[in-house]
């Protein structure tokens, strides 16, 4: 196949990213409000503002800026943050790390829980537990994420005082290395609440999906064949689960999109120093380079996820023929 398919798919991925980055670039240039006038107090003279624009390179014609921007993007150079005045990657690196540490376990947890709960529900369909249990993921997904987060915060942090309420470590804790930041009990205590909120929120759709998929698989003949061999029901379930997994795997990419959108709200509620919050703040303060880089990272991660899932899907599902 498939080398040609992969190549074609790859080129399309690059093309998609290019279009997205172009849209983002021009969108920022269209917003009213020039960063030079926002970041500086009003006492700044006209020459002062002009100097700043020159320094940031936003005095040049938009198209020239665009070429520079695209050229730098190829080198993965995102320039210097208008707000922080340091190279963008220096700022975003830690933010990205913090976000991943929060969202990746949440997604994994959501998927694992979804596979378990979803297949149980699918297997036991029609039972009382399934009939009404199905409402729980439905309702949980219907609640706005920030509402869920704040209510969780109020109950578990402010009333029960089980977990700390904000940030990712004890205030004033000094970590010498990256290892120190993430691998200690204090960090875990801070992680649990936002991670669980995200996981519960994210698990809702895959649970439903796994359930439907399981119901579908249940009717397939091969299960009867296996059953006829006289293996225990547990093994039959496992076989069914394996076959029901495919749609859930493909759903991973979409889950990544939801997780990305959710991280903005989650990080705001839990004061988590992640990339979602940084992105919103950068958009707010018209910090083009930072916002563009953050946009790029989110878009790239989602687009790459889709790429991988597409390839996986073609590998996993023999029913799909490749042209």
């Amino acid at each position: 196949m498939s080398r040609e398919y992969i190549l074609r798919r790859f080129i399309r991925m690059i093309f998609t990213l290019w279009v997205i980055m172009t849209i983002i670039f021009f969108m920022f240039r269209l917003i009213p409000a020039d960063p030079a006038s926002l970041l500086i107090d009003s006492s700044l003279t006209a020459e002062g503002q002009q100097q700043l624009r020159e320094f940031w390179g936003i005095d040049k014609p938009v198209f020239t800026q665009y070429l520079t921007y695209m050229g730098n993007l190829l080198k993965l150079d995102f320039g210097r943050s208008f707000f922080y005045r340091v190279p963008v990657m220096e700022v975003l690196g830690p933010f990205l790390r913090n976000s991943l540490v929060l969202m990746v376990p949440a997604v994994v947890l959501a998927i694992v829980a979804a596979i378990g709960i979803g297949s149980y529900m699918g297997w036991k369909r029609g039972s009382i537990i399934e009939r009404w249990g199905i409402m729980i993921p439905l309702v949980l997904h219907g609640v706005p994420l920030y509402w869920l987060g704040l209510v969780a915060l109020i109950i578990f942090s402010f009333w029960l005082r089980w977990f700390p309420s904000s940030g990712m470590r004890e205030l004033g804790y000094t970590a010498e290395t990256v290892w120190d930041i993430y691998f200690n009990i204090d960090f875990l205590r801070h992680l649990i609440l936002p991670m669980m909120t995200a996981a519960i929120y994210l698990a809702a759709s895959p649970i439903m999906l796994m359930r439907s998929s399981m119901i579908e698989v249940q009717n397939e003949e091969f299960l009867d064949v296996i059953r006829a061999k006289g293996v225990p029901e547990r093994v039959v379930v496992r076989h069914a689960m394996r076959n029901a997994l495919l749609p859930v795997v493909t759903y991973l990419a979409f889950l990544a999109t939801i997780a990305v959108a959710g991280s903005v709200l989650l990080e705001t509620v839990f004061s988590w120093p992640g990339i979602g919050r940084a992105l919103v703040e950068a958009v707010n303060s018209r910090d083009y380079p930072l916002a563009q880089a953050a946009f790029f990272m989110w878009s790239a991660s989602v687009v790459i996820m889709y790429f991988i899932v597409d390839i996986l899907y073609h590998k996993l599902d023999p029913r799909i023929s490749l042209k």
């Binding site: 759709s205 999906l209 998929s213 749609p247």
Partner: protein, 313 residues
Amino acid sequence: MNTTNPEGNYGEAGRPARKGVHASRRSWLVMQFREILRDGPGTIGLIILLVFFFIAAFGDSLTPYGPNDLQYLEDGSLARGEPPSARYWFGTTTAGRDVFSQTLSGARVAVVVGFLSAIVTVFIGSNVALWAGYSGGKLDEFLMGLVDITYGIPFLPFAIVLVSLLGTSIWNVILIISLLFWRSTARVIRAQVLSLKQRPFIWSARAAGAKPAYIIYRHILPNVLPLILLYTALAVSTGVLTEAGLSFLGFGDPRFPSWGTMLNDAFRAGAARRAWWWIVPPGACIALFVTASYMVGRAFEASTDPRLREYGG
């Protein structure tokens, strides 16, 4: 949310029964409706949605007070943060406004945003899907390329930029939702169209010299309609949740009291723990509204694919 496989595994589902569809479309719609009513949660969902519709249409005459009217107690002081009472069923906000009236008024924004954005997204999404799926080739590639792009754009930041660009208004919120969220509809329905395209009745229509537009809207559309209805229901919930999320970040339209702006007001006021009656009604209404549209959507889904019908249908 997307309770179905994005690639659409509807393949061979119960299609033959629906071949006679165009003959009596009205009775088919009635049948769809019956399907929903046969589904327990679907019926409940439908009733809840109808109640919200009713509130949205007649909310003004139902609310005891104007949503933005300041409430004063007998002694003339502002009724700030009054707990629920006979006079204020859901209590008052800390700015002295009636939570019950605001909650009822919020239904209008939910219905308008939810349904308008759903109609637009599904309209765009299904048309893209129909044409892309049916035509194939370059057009398909182009339209699916667009779908890829919309998936790659992080929604909330994108919305914030657009709101800064266009101004905070409810119409812009609908516009922004419509710009991106047609993607899942397009993806799923296209998969469905691809499989329908191979059906004999399409071939025969084509052989008879029918124009593509005729085939698409006469023959294919009726067959993907249940799926479209399912995605409309899902898009309603997406719309409402998105509006609420934007409002929470402070990008809602303050002129229209929505559940999202109510929550935002409450959280900004730091009232969540003290005035629980202020955050529970809007939160519950959002959950109820969204869940109701899911349930209706699921009922459509079950009617689309009999294998998913769980109550021994």
